[in-house]
């Protein structure tokens, strides 16, 4: 699925629920969430991602 920066796909809340994102994170545009939180191929940056969010992707 190709998204432009700032674009929020309809399934963003479902992704947030699956990956255990915080509610604040879930409200961010999905493209940002995908860039910083991973599962199956999406790599979070451990230098900028909080420990809680990073470990939430395991």
């Amino acid at each position: 699925m190709q998204l432009r920066p700032g674009e929020r796909p309809a399934k963003a809340p479902a992704f947030a629920a699956l990956t255990g994102l915080s509610s604040a994170m879930a409200e961010r545009p999905a493209i940002e969430a995908l860039a910083s939180v991973s599962w199956r191929g999406f790599v979070p940056d451990p230098n900028t991602t909080s420990a809680r969010e990073f470990l939430g992707t395991l």
Binding site: T19, N47, R52
Partner: protein, 366 residues
């Protein structure tokens, strides 16, 4: 394999719930807990409060909080409020207020919740809002007591403390070898369970210690620290104490596993060299269950969800270093099964996780 207890804390305003908690449970809470009797004598004092006040609970319990421990609280806004709450005697009542604790080593801006949990039994729940190395209050304000004033001359009694007044015991490797040998004699199949649970309990307390570290450095919470910084913090916390220095590898995080490598684990080097299990039960060639449990307890606290660390390779069995796999609690059984099947190493564990039902494109089981 052992299951971790849920990582939960009572809601601070539920006084009956907090009074029912054990001392061990209070020690797992990321805020200070102090219980006082009707005269202000300290009945209970948890780990977080001990850490940030730099006072040993063994010297604090039994002393008067207002006159002997925190003389800065002898004000109408604190001690006066305490006395009025007792006089009113409404069990379950609570009050919240801000206060500044004046320590010789700096000030701490705190939010206090004062609860009358039972007749004559008051709880102080102390949430640190900020910690400063300097003081802004007038010098005439009496300061909280220092540990060395509570227990002078304790060095000659065989008590050692670090620079933040935590008591420590200098333990050599033979101590752990003796512990393992004892367990092998009296309950040989319980070693893994015992060591893992011990490690989990250690990890929970280490997390509280690091939470205090975070608040002292202006962080809202340990959980907000970037992952890489947390990894460095854990490495120094464990490595500087001689356990061996853990190195975190996040390369496979996108597959749901973080690996932790300890080159020179003290536990592995103290353990008997690998020998045949010869019986049912977990393999005996993994020696670092204590560290695995510690990683589990610590990371479960930070993640605020259950994570499990398993040792997959151990120096005691000839591997060049000890390697741990940190995965979600739900997927720990995949790792356990791979270990029991002799499928060790990072690549083998990754293969096991990939091929497990629910892996691939599916979302993780949570």
């Amino acid at each position: 394999m052992i299951d971790l207890e849920p990582n939960s804390a009572p809601h601070p305003s539920d006084s009956r719930q907090i009074d029912a908690r054990t001392d061990s449970e209070l020690d797992g809470m990321p805020f200070g807990v102090i219980a006082l009797d009707e005269s202000g004598v300290v009945l209970r004092y948890n780990l977080y409060e001990s850490r940030l006040a730099r006072l040993d609970k063994n010297q604090v319990i039994g002393r008067n909080f207002f006159s002997e421990i925190a003389r800065c609280t002898r004000t109408d806004s604190f001690e006066g409020r305490f006395k009025r709450m007792l006089a009113k005697g409404t069990v379950g009542s609570s009050e919240q207020f801000d206060f500044v604790f004046g320590f010789a080593f700096g000030e701490q801006q705190v939010a206090i919740e004062m609860l009358l949990a039972a007749p004559g039994k008051t709880y102080l729940l102390v949430n640190r809002k900020s910690v400063r190395a300097e003081r802004t209050q007038a010098p005439s304000v009496p300061l909280a007591v220092l540990q060395r004033a509570l227990a002078p001359e304790e060095t000659v009694l065989g008590v050692r403390r670090d620079d933040i007044e935590r008591r420590f015991v200098d333990v050599s490797a033979p101590f752990f070898a003796a512990l393992r040998a004892t367990c092998d004699r009296v309950a040989p199949e319980s070693w893994q369970l015992f060591a893992t649970e011990w490690g989990v309990q250690w990890g929970r307390r280490a997390a509280i210690d690091l939470e205090a570290w975070a608040i002292e450095r202006g962080r809202a919470s340990l959980r907000d620290v970037p992952m890489q910084e947390l990894a460095a913090l854990v490495a120094s916390t464990i490595g500087d104490r001689g356990w061996g220095r853990p190195a975190f590898d996040f390369v496979h995080a996108n597959e749901g596993v973080v690996t932790i490598v300890v080159d020179r684990s003290a536990l592995a080097e103290a353990a008997p060299r690998s020998h045949s299990a010869g019986s049912a039960g977990p393999p005996v060639d993994l020696a670092c269950h204590l560290l695995a449990g510690c990683f589990s307890g610590l990371m479960t606290y930070v993640a605020d969800r259950r994570l499990s660390a398993r040792e997959i390779l151990c120096r005691s069995s000839g591997a060049p270093c000890c390697t741990f796999a940190l995965v979600s609690h739900e997927r720990r059984r995949i790792v356990d099964a791979a270990i029991l099947e002799g499928r060790r190493g990072v690549d083998a564990i990754r293969d096991a996780l990939r091929s497990a039902p629910g892996s691939g494109d599916a979302a993780p089981s949570r």
